[in-house]
């Protein structure tokens, strides 16, 4: 039976209005609500569904970061993950480092599927799954909107610019999730209580013996350029006149 490893990144909640710090050193994260990256929540939901239909025996949630990430792992356990692993570090983790860490855990856990969100909504990098697949020398199926497991392979429907692409990959493989794969379940109170008893292993990142220091320097941050305030027109006539004025109607 298959084992599934799911990555859960702790990020600023998607409803929070992001503000850049006045000194440009980053965005304001003090006191803002933190959540599981929505794409990762979809990944966990999919792992649980694969297990529930009998195609997997165990779902392991993993996070990388400060001890605060235990909150998101507990939520993952309450959703239904069997156990959790926190790779604890205070270091800023770039996607290549995250992939390196995940590879170390793969060596130990030998999962058949690694499910990750296609991107995190904080850095919007969209890299970790692809990098992990490269380092692991295994297939990648990114931007999944449908996953079917059968006889050691996965058929994955991918949301691409041209439409929906279907690929078939040998397992083990890395699959990254898109928004329409599923709708994650809500966590019920009894599940939160039960989750407190599930195992959560904490491993110090230094013990993994790999270099996870950042390669890049974030020199400065700024708010995006604002568009100038526009005009309100009263009716379709005025709209057409305004468009003609800008020479936008061929």
């Amino acid at each position: 039976m298959d084992k599934i490893l799911v990555g859960l990144k702790r990020v600023v909640d998607y409803n929070v209005r992001i503000r850049v710090k006045s000194d440009g050193s980053g965005v304001v994260t003090d006191g803002v609500k933190m959540s599981i990256n929505p794409f990762d929540e979809i990944a966990l939901e999919e792992a649980l569904r694969i297990k529930e239909r009998g195609d997997a025996s165990e779902v392991i949630a993993i996070s990388i970061g400060s001890s605060d990430c235990q909150q998101q792992l507990r939520t993952g356990l309450a959703m239904g993950a069997d156990r959790a692993i926190l790779i604890e570090t205070s270091q800023e983790i770039e996607p290549l480092a995250a992939a390196g860490i995940l590879l170390k855990i793969i060596d130990k856990e030998q999962p058949d599927i690694v499910l990750l969100g296609k991107q995190a909504i904080d850095d919007d990098n969209n890299q970790t799954g692809q990098m992990l697949a490269a380092l692991w020398e295994r297939p990648q199926a990114t931007f999944a909107s449908k996953i079917e497991i059968s006889e050691g392979t996965a058929s994955v429907t991918r949301e691409v610019d041209a439409g929906l692409e279907v690929i078939n990959v040998d397992l083990p493989a890395v699959i990254t999730t898109d928004l329409r794969l599923n709708e994650p379940r809500y966590v019920k109170l009894p599940d939160i209580m039960k989750a407190k008893k599930k195992p959560l292993e904490v491993i110090n990142a230094d013990e993994l013996g790999i270099d996870i220091s950042p390669q890049f320097t974030a020199v400065s941050h700024e708010a995006p350029a604002e568009r100038e305030k526009g005009i309100i027109v009263d009716d379709v006539d005025a709209l057409i006149a305004a468009l003609k004025d800008k020479d936008l109607l061929g």
Binding site: L96, Q119, Q130, T142, F216, S220, L239
Partner: protein, 313 residues
């Protein structure tokens, strides 16, 4: 030879315009032009299109049966075999480039700069984070190849007028057999222009109420020779196919004219249209956030406005 290698995006027959936009990003990195690599099962037509763009130093073709479809696990090792000669490896930040480029970077042991929106120096780039609510200036250290994707909406395509030479590369690397292309299903967009390259885009939202009701928007689009996009909710509701989604996780577009019909303007959608030349918002809710960024706003009911526009244009 050039310092910059650009990975061409194509559909097996035609070069995607994203490649011309990457060339525009590459110009300040090497004024002598960039090399463009075409990996396909039949390269000739695509390579000729690339060679005709300005700013191309040389087109390199890698023709193999395995390259019929852009499978990242198959393409990536071939790029790596070429990349050692270059200081920069660039690809568009489309689903093609997003899938492929991190695999290339990891095989080379380097990080990747995603979604370059401007080049600030030979090793400094601006890129959007938090759905475009912040912009970070990233510096890549000396001594490593810069592997990056280019936010295509931030760059105008280079013009035609090039006459670059085309050379075939013979790359002998082992390609994996663990990943198989099965099929590509595309929605029927009629003869409408491509969403990512259209000069005019009309976008509809879930409030249109049904797949059939999107028909009135298609009629107007055909009258205006426009492409049609949609908000996430309209795609989730099944009114339109996924390839029409515009926003943080969908397509980032920069048409000359973007007309949003009923779209309220969730931040995740706005990030996909911020580079449009002129944004027009039509919404019956005068308080909708989209009016904050619209150049021209009209408070009104779509089911009145769309037919009237069609009649008057």
């Amino acid at each position: 030879m050039s310092k910059v290698l650009i990975i061409a995006e194509h559909d097996g027959t035609n070069l995607n315009q994203s490649t011309a936009r990457c060339l525009s990003c590459a110009q300040p990195l090497d004024a002598s032009g960039a090399d463009v690599v075409v990996l396909a099962s039949q390269c000739t037509a695509i390579a000729e299109q690339a060679a005709g763009l300005s700013g191309v130093a040389r087109v390199i073709t890698v023709e193999r049966a395995e390259n019929e479809h852009a499978v990242a696990a198959i393409i990536a090792p071939q790029i790596v075999a070429l990349a050692s000669d270059y200081d920069y490896v660039l690809a568009p930040s489309t689903t093609f480039g997003k899938d492929l480029t991190p695999r290339v970077a990891a095989l080379m042991g380097v990080g990747q700069v995603s979604d370059i929106m401007s080049v600030e120096g030979p090793r400094q780039f601006k890129r959007p984070i938090y759905a475009g609510n912040a912009v970070v200036l990233v510096e890549v250290p000396e001594g490593q190849t810069i592997v990056a994707t280019v936010r295509v909406a931030s760059f105008r395509p280079v013009a035609a007028g090039g006459q670059a030479t085309i050379t075939a590369a013979d790359i002998s690397v082992d390609l994996p057999a663990h990943t198989r292309f099965v099929e590509l299903k595309s929605g029927d967009s009629g003869d409408r222009p491509d969403l990512q390259t259209a000069k005019v885009v009309l976008s509809g939202w879930r409030g249109l109420g049904s797949e059939e009701n999107f028909g009135i928007l298609y009629q107007l689009a055909d009258r205006m020779n426009a492409a049609v996009g949609a908000s996430r909710a309209a795609v989730d509701a099944g009114y339109v196919p996924n390839e029409m989604q515009v926003g943080q996780t969908g397509k980032i577009i920069a048409p000359d004219l973007y007309m949003a019909f009923g779209i309220s303007g969730a931040i995740q959608h706005l990030t996909g249209i911020k580079d449009a030349g002129t944004i027009v918002a039509i919404n019956k809710d005068g308080e909708a956030p989209i009016f904050e960024i619209a150049d021209i706003g009209l408070v009104g009911d779509l089911f009145d406005v769309i037919p009237e526009l069609e009649k008057r244009l």
